[in-house]
């Protein structure tokens, strides 16, 4: 993952450098990021020491941290295999809806990510025994499950058992700790979390059990994976309230006597099953939220008029267009791709204007409306480096204005016609302006690190810009900037209101610019507030049961009040509503569940970390210099393997090496087949595989493969193989990717073609070269189990050289897919063409087709029928042709999800049925040799998850094929794909 990110995000191989302490190796590639390093290093030292004490944790190596700026919002990620590592995205966070706290983020990320590292890497004596065992007693080893040698799945569990726990457990624990380590600034005490469960109870929606959450709950609604964070945090807070925070730590810590699997340890600590306790939490949650709802209802709840019968999932800032009486917003809900929408407030009808590529989870896109110009400005690639686009409301055309704009929170100035926004660059927030024709960006004011501004809005007179300002303490203010001053690089502002530690948001000016309407969690629920800009006087305009967001004042009446358009949070997502804009005098506060933890167990106050500024990093720094991936490779595991060679089993061992970032990896395999049926020189098998950045070298002697033990497809290969390959990202702009791949390989001592197992060779050695250009732009809607929309093409040339003869072949593929109105149900049309320039009687000069291609046990793609060389219904390699044209149409039915089909350690989460039909014509240039085949088939896939993290897919398929003369054949496929 790290290698891919670095390779993709940097135009050339970056010069990495490192700085180390006893426990930390910090790697960076850009000196513009190093101003953050001292703060990050201190935060690491502080958080690591805390976790060591809390969990009785003993590290057996450094934690490698990569400092990166690969996307426009901050993020973090951690893993512990084969070594402990974290990546830190340095950009400011997205504070929308109080889904994340605003306090200093290097400390926050370290508190959270190191919780992952420590709880996953924690080891007791038995784990350490296996770590020594799989390190041959020479080094501590944490085995990485490797699809090529799936026995490593079991070895992986033996060395790091707690890694194989569900996501809600990992994230719940990290959020729980992050909150108390930051003095309460965390999601366990967050307004959004509280609202989500209050809405579930009010709306009578399902609160999933532990298995159902991972199997269905974290994929089915608009929040997808965030549900793991929400549920996990809530459940752990419940445990802390009921049993004390120390019990939570006892559950997570891998101390002597603890159980390996997380649910077994749960029973040991709490004396009951996870399922029983989870049920009690749900019952308690309903009771808690009903009390909160009763508290809110003690005063009249604001009447809301829903404008749509359908919840819109996530919504962007929206605009009411008086000219067309439509609401313009970007929405993202299960079913279609995220899109710009025009909502009719009278009928609730939603017109889809244009899809938003790379939509964000909560804000979908940054949207700005130019009323006079009749156009919407919006951002794409919101999860990476954002681009600026414009959509014409009259022309219905879209064009990209600025690539890698890196700017959001857009606000349009109706007076000057310029577009303002907040750019995130090198970890800093910068107010920027772009003027027509919107191709250049001017930096107006850069805030110091830790101060971030968001949710901009510009007054109708074009003089003022409002925004929310967060500082590193986590405090937030509603402020007002002068555009004139900003244009003079003066970022001074007036504070309209200090929200202290409550997130405000979505503030927008009234038509006369005298008031600002927005929302805040001041009362605990997100309600609408109105501020008089001149005096700061605040009115509360709503008493919402769940939460209201993104208010827009509509026409005001004579008292200055009128109607407001807003979005109500429901269990299914946001729903547009209107309400009266009338000040309220009485609104009760709601209580936060997490608050009970600190009230009942004040010890969590002691978990707050002291300011890290006191840590003397000069004394702790141990090393600095260049970081070269291959020079930092270390042995990570040695373990026994079983392989298949032709029809025989082979037994041997594998040894892995890797650097701390996963940029370079090396492995050796060796095995021996005791089968007397094999000639002596085919019994030994060796392989070496080395990867460094985009380079890949591998060599083998009598190549063996685990999956040759099962089923019809064989990749084991007699003789010698040496191969060198390179991959270069010509364009890395997810989801748009253009890759150039080339490889050259030499073979000797062969008895069949490497890619065509059933084609024997008249010679025993040859060279082959391949070069390909591949483009893909693939997208998925919420809840997808596979790519659902887009285009993928490849142009390739595979050229063989044997017996002093050159056999060039070229082929191309083109896949195009689109979503049907059914949810997660795409149709794909896959076409391919190929031409070989050699003699039809030569094996090297032919393309071969046939079969599903799946083995009984497999690790390659499940839907192998999509490959240009497969042809289900006909046996493998049965069809040979020197030129071909093939087309396949494929329709995947909506997947069926299972919410109660298994236990935490083994469950099935979905099944999907696919229909396909192909036509293949071959030898088109020669009428007598011309081939024509057709087939139709189906495949049913079941996704099964083992130990929370190990995805396996059980597939069954059936296809019938017919050739031009009417001869028919059929094929049944059964396959279990591991990892």
């Amino acid at each position: 993952m790290f290698a891919g990110l670095i390779l993709g995000a940097t135009s050339a191989r970056a010069q990495l450098r490192e700085i180390e302490t006893n426990d930390l190796r910090l790697v960076f590639y850009d000196t513009r990021h190093t101003y953050l390093a001292p703060q990050l290093m201190r935060s690491f030292e502080s958080a690591f020491a805390f976790h060591e004490r809390l969990f009785d944790y003993r590290p057996d190596g450094k934690v490698t941290i990569l400092l990166e700026d690969f996307s426009d919002y901050g993020h973090g990620g951690a893993d512990v295999i084969p070594s402990n590592r974290i990546n830190v995205g340095i950009a400011p966070f997205n504070y929308i809806y109080e889904t994340i706290p605003a306090n200093e983020r290097m400390s926050w990320i370290m508190n959270h990510e190191l919780a992952h590292v420590v709880e996953m890497d924690g080891s007791r004596a038995s784990d350490r025994f296996f770590r020594r065992w799989f390190g041959a007693g020479l080094f501590p080893s944490k085995v990485t499950p490797n699809p090529e040698d799936p026995l490593s799945m079991g070895y992986g569990f033996l060395t790091t058992p707690r890694r194989y726990s569900p996501r809600w457990y990992h994230e719940g624990l990290a959020v729980f700790l992050e909150t108390w380590m930051s003095g309460g600034l965390g999601r366990a005490l967050g307004g959004y979390d509280e609202m989500v469960f209050r809405a579930m109870v009010r709306d009578g929606s399902r609160i999933y059990d532990a298995v159902g959450l991972e199997a269905e709950g974290s994929t089915i609604d608009f929040q997808v994976g965030v549900n793991s964070y929400l549920y996990g945090t809530r459940f752990l807070s419940y445990l802390a309230v009921e049993h004390g925070p120390q019990k939570v730590i006892d559950w997570a810590a891998r101390r002597p006597g603890s159980k390996a699997y997380f649910s077994a340890q749960f029973r040991q600590v709490f004396g009951t099953s996870l399922e029983q306790e989870w049920s009690q939490w749900i019952a308690g949650e309903r009771q808690w939220q009903n009390q909160n709802l009763a508290q809110i209802r003690q005063y009249p709840v604001t009447p809301l008029k829903r404008l749509s019968t359908q919840a819109l999932g996530s919504v962007s800032r929206s605009f009411y267009d008086e000219a067309t009486r439509k609401i313009y917003a970007a929405v993202r809900y299960p079913g279609p791709m995220a899109h710009l929408a025009a909502i009719d407030p009278e009928s609730g009808a939603i017109a889809r204007l244009h899809d938003v590529e790379g939509a964000a989870l909560y804000y979908v896109t940054s949207l700005a409306f130019d009323r006079a110009g009749r156009r919407l400005f919006f951002t794409t690639d919101n999860n990476d480096l954002r681009d600026l686009n414009v959509y014409g409301l009259e022309s219905h055309k879209t064009s990209r204005l600025i690539e890698n704009f890196r700017t959001g929170d857009l606000a349009f100035d109706p007076v000057s016609g310029s577009l303002w926004g907040v750019r995130h660059l090198n970890g800093l927030s910068i107010i920027v302006e772009t003027v027509a024709p919107y191709h250049d960006v001017t930096h107006r004011f850069m805030f110091p690190y830790g101060t971030d501004v968001f949710d901009l809005n510009i007054s109708p007179d074009g003089k003022w810009m409002s925004g929310m300002l967060a500082d590193a303490s986590g405090r937030q203010k509603l402020v007002r900037f002068s555009l004139e001053k900003l244009r003079a690089r003066d970022g001074t502002f007036e504070t309209v209101h200090d929200f202290e530690f409550s997130t405000g948001g979505g503030f927008t000016f009234s038509a006369d610019g005298s008031k600002l309407y927005g929302t805040s969690y001041f009362t605990g629920a997100s309600n609408i507030f109105r501020f008089d800009v001149a005096t700061g006087a605040m009115d509360v305009l709503s008493n919402a049961e769940t939460g209201l967001f993104w208010p827009i004042p509509l026409a005001a009446n004579t008292e200055g009040n009128g109607q407001l358009l807003a979005y109500e949070y429901t269990a299914a997502g946001f729903v547009p509503v209107t309400l009266d804009s009338k000040p309220l005098m009485d609104v009760n506060a709601v209580k936060y569940f997490g608050q009970q933890v600190v009230e009942k167990y004040p010890i969590v106050r002691e978990w707050k970390l002291p300011p890290p500024a006191e840590i003397d990093m000069a004394a702790r720094t141990t090393k600095a210099g260049d970081y070269t991936a291959w020079r930092n490779m270390k042995p990570t595991a040695i373990y026994p393997i079983v392989q298949g060679y032709k029809d025989s089993a082979a037994y041997g061992a594998r040894m892995d090496f890797s650097d701390g970032l996963g940029l370079a990896a090396l492995n050796f395999t060796g095995s021996y087949s005791p089968d007397a049926a094999l000639v002596a020189k085919e019994r030994a098998h060796f392989g070496v595989d080395f990867r460094n950045w985009g380079w890949h070298f591998n060599a083998a002697y009598n190549n063996a493969d685990f999956y040759d033990l099962f089923g019809p497809t064989k990749v084991s290969l007699k003789g010698y193989t040496v191969r060198l390959a390179n991959k270069k990202n010509l364009r890395f702009k997810p989801p748009r990717m253009l890759d150039l791949d080339w490889s050259i390989a030499g073979y000797a001592g062969l008895d069949r073609l490497p890619d065509y197992q059933n084609v024997s060779l008249p010679i025993d050695k040859f060279l082959t070269g391949k070069i390909s250009l591949t483009y893909s732009r693939l997208e998925r809607s919420l809840g997808a189990v596979d790519d659902e929309k887009g285009i993928h093409w490849q142009l390739a040339s595979v050229d063989n050289y044997a017996n002093r003869t050159f056999y060039p072949r070229v082929y191309g593929t083109l896949d195009y897919g689109f979503l049907t109105p059914l949810r997660n149900s795409p149709v794909w049309i896959r076409s391919s063409l190929g031409e070989s320039f050699g003699d039809r009687t030569e094996p090297f000069a032919n393309f071969y087709f046939g079969g599903f291609g799946n083995n009984y046990v497999d690790h390659l793609a499940t839907s192998r029928y999509r490959e240009y060389y497969s042809f289900p219904g006909v046996s493998i390699d049965r069809i040979g042709a020197t030129d071909f044209a093939k087309s396949t149409i494929e329709w995947s039915l909506p997947p069926i999800r299972f919410s109660k089909f298994g236990a935490p350690y083994l469950y099935c989460n979905w099944a999907r049925l696919t229909w396909f039909s192909s036509v293949l014509a071959g030898n088109l240039a020669s009428a007598p040799d011309r081939l024509l085949y057709g087939n139709a088939g189906t495949q049913l896939d079941f996704r099964v998850v083992i130990a929370s993290y190990l995805n396996t897919t059980f597939s069954v398929g059936y296809a019938e094929a017919v050739e031009r003369h009417g001869h028919t054949s059929s094929e049944v496929m059964i396959s279990l794909k591991l990892l």
């Binding site: 101003y35 001292p38 307004g191 970390l609 600095a624």
Partner: protein
């Protein structure tokens, strides 16, 4: 009215005025001095105990450069060639020489020394060597230092020649530590 009663009345009067002033300020003052909320609006009761700002700022890069130099120095200190050099009395005396410390902070000079040493080891007499030497000689700090006997002995030391490029970072680190 006796003085004690007058004093009492003044205190009471002042108290009333003060209370009135507080009331007026609380009622009509700027938003920052009061809760700006109208009516009985409940505020959420949530534990917050922020550390405040412990931040990276413009000086952080300078601090990082210092930490980086310290890291490089510690790498160098573990190098056996440097350990041999460190035991050299000429070197230890030179470390106390401010001219030497300043000179070693000059990358051009250090690179020139390293190049001359390297090419000298190869026994080459190329034009590039002459250029490097000219650069060193043109440096006024070097001219002053060149007369130092310790320095003359040190330059002839093979360990110094091998460690010259690494030494730059070490000396910078040592200098920065001294400045703390």
């Amino acid at each position: 009215m006796d003085s004690s009663k007058r004093k009492y009345a003044v205190f009471v009067g002042a108290g009333v005025v003060l209370a009135g002033l507080i009331f007026v300020l609380a009622s009509y003052g700027p938003a920052g001095l009061k809760s700006a909320v109208q009516g009985a609006i409940g505020q959420r009761d949530v534990y917050r105990d922020s550390n405040g700002a412990n931040l990276a700022d413009a000086d952080s890069n300078a601090e990082f450069a210092k930490l980086y130099a310290i890291g490089q120095f510690k790498v160098l200190a573990g190098d056996p060639r440097f350990k041999a050099l460190a035991s050299n009395s000429d070197f230890t005396q030179l470390l106390g020489n401010s001219q030497f410390v300043s000179l070693m902070g000059n990358s051009q000079v250090v690179n020139s020394i390293a190049n001359v040493a390297k090419q000298g080891n190869l026994q080459g007499t190329s034009a590039s060597v002459a250029t490097q030497v000219a650069q060193i000689l043109a440096n006024s700090q070097f001219a002053s230092l060149a007369s130092n006997a310790n320095f003359q002995a040190l330059v002839a030391n093979a360990n110094f020649q091998a460690s010259a490029s690494q030494l730059q970072g070490a000396v910078q680190a040592a200098a920065s530590l001294n400045n703390q």
